[in-house]
Symmetry: C2
DNA sequence: AACCTTTGCGCAAAGCTTTGCGGAATTATC
DNA sequence: GATAATTCCGCAAAGCTTTGCGCAAAGGTT
């Protein structure tokens, strides 16, 4: 760090005025004469003065950093959401500090603690898969620390959230399968405690009902969102006495793992088994057959989360928590139409 | 923020001792009696005291945040490197603040300025594609601000860098094509000013030479690493009077764009055209045919960058810049063997 | 010419931490 | 019992910024 940055003190000494005068001049305070103001501002410009955010943070008890916690840094889903958050943050003079929970509840708590110790302005996060106990958010909520959940959420009555229309999307997928002639429609779901899992299962069941298809428990299997687990789930489905003719995967990892396993068993997509996933555009179009999928507006989710966050930061009183529900789009490609 | 955190002052008042005594007690200073030390530490524990990093930063002129600048947040390559950086940072009590240059030289400079104004401890970054002028790093270098470049680098005599064995990898690819029977081997290269482009072109030419193949200028085309540009480059190659029978793409985006375009023109991979890219594992195995590719140890690159950074931070004197060269691995799959 | 209002600037505190130095009280020494 | 040496703790400054308050000089008023 060294003596890189000049401070108000430097400016003041150079101009032979007091520090407070310099401070006021830089903020165009009317108490300071026009000519002195100009002289100060010119010198500040010349010496590349920038106020020390540490000092300001200390004084004002506020910070311009947003803590962001994701279960995983590497997948497209999260990195594009981060990208959205970063863009909003940047536009409003905020910086994002990223930590990864690696889907662990314990690590999530640790990340949270650490970021709070760092004195971030608040937290934007997606719950870890493992997290089932939501008590560690109580303090934050009570103390009105700005907090936004996205995708995997909890306590929505108390915390602002950004989600997609999971139920509706799952319903549409199911109906799309039906309309394409598929009748034994399976669903590889995520961990049972996650809101996204529950909502998508509900949509799946609702879709089945609307198509007058009975819900068959054996066609609903859970996985932990990892590739091996999704592969295993697919195997389980394909080993059923009466094989499903369509599979709807809960996310992109699941869908691709399923695709590989289906192919490995010598089955053809979409003829033998139809396949749909929640994915991002790039992946879905590069595989063969191209994958029908529900597009998450991930970048927009990130931006929306950022905006909800800023809303809380800027509010003098604590604003009522808001629920942003973004709409997904079912993009029909080769894998689900025969 | 509010009154969330207790300060030394609170502890001192509660115990009726001075702030400095509390400070010393917490750091086990021998001047403080054992019993008082214990009392202080117990209270601190109870009240969940954590020292304010803003105050410490102000006092010691140092920070525990690392500025990270990437050209793109979304691609696997960068997000997995970020993941590596984050893990090292975390292990050593540092936090990473991420900014995105969107491949723009101007934005890159802006990110750099902003992060320095935030008083980060230093910068880990990958150059934007557009960046051709490296003058804005001179200040940092002179003032010995910890700085590490990865992948796309400049001024390696002055700055620590993390790269892969680009030349060697490109040479291996070329020879692999030759050994698989390909003879008109084309290369879709990146922007000419990037070190990675230059090194891979050199490796490509060296490989050709070793196989007694003449270098044909028309088989070397540049793209800007975007999908449309890579598609266009592929088109250009395939439209040549004598079509190449093998294409080596400079990165994953390029390789996949090429794959799509080759297929679109009704050509078969690997029979009509062999294809190899620099990619990550997941993408490469999910496409059809599976893609032979050079695997970047991306996570390791991130970790290495983090370690080189910490080396600079912890050194009292400025350490000599170090060049970490990680080795890639050529993973042969279906797309390059007929 | 005496008083009042502006105008223009500085003092000092607060926010939190670390640390050199000084000082009071206790113990040891002669 | 007086002096020297410990032991244990507090004062204050530094790091940087903002802001309420006070104060001097200048100008205006009668």
């Amino acid at each position: 760090m060294s003596k890189r940055h000049v401070s108000l003190k430097t400016l003041a000494q150079t101009l032979n005025v007091s520090i407070s005068t310099v401070s006021r001049a830089l903020r165009n305070h009317p108490d300071i004469s026009a000519e002195l103001t100009q002289k100060v501002q010119e010198l500040a410009q010349e010496l590349d003065y920038s106020p020390n955010p540490l000092a300001i943070g200390l004084l004002k008890h506020q910070s311009n950093t947003i803590g962001v916690i994701v279960p995983d840094l590497v997948t497209y889903f999260f990195s594009s959401i981060i990208s959205g958050i970063e863009s909003v943050a940047n536009e409003h003079g905020y910086y994002i500090v990223i930590r990864c929970s690696y889907e662990s509840a314990e690590k999530e708590k640790e990340c949270l603690d650490n970021l709070l110790k760092l004195r971030v302005a608040g937290i934007i996060m997606c719950l870890a898969q493992e997290t089932q106990d939501y008590a560690h958010f109580s303090n934050l909520i009570e103390e009105q620390v700005p907090l936004v959940f996205f995708d995997r959420i909890c306590r929505p009555e108390e915390v602002s959230t950004v989600v997609v229309d999971n139920l509706e999307a799952a319903r549409r997928i199911t109906r799309h399968f039906f309309e394409s002639g598929y009748r034994r429609i399976a669903h590889i779901a995520g961990p049972a405690q996650l809101n996204i899992t529950q909502e998508r299962i509900q949509g799946y069941q609702q879709g089945l009902a609307e198509c007058d298809l009975a819900f068959d428990e054996s066609l609903l299997v859970h996985c932990d969102l990892s590739i091996p687990s999704a592969t295993e789930a697919t195997r389980q489905l394909l080993a059923l006495p009466v094989r499903p003719d369509a599979i709807f995967g809960v996310n992109d990892t699941t869908a691709f793992a399923a695709m590989k396993e289906i192919k490995r068993q010598g089955l053809r997509i979409p003829n033998d088994v139809g396949l749909v996933g929640f994915t991002d555009e790039f992946h879905a179009t590069v595989v063969e057959p191209t994958l029908t999928s529900v597009m998450h507006p991930t970048y927009e989710m990130g931006r929306e989360a950022g905006l909800l966050f800023l809303e809380q930061v800027n509010a003098q009183a604590a604003p009522a928590p808001r629920q942003a529900v973004l709409t997904t789009q079912l993009v029909i490609r080769e894998s689900s139409v025969r």
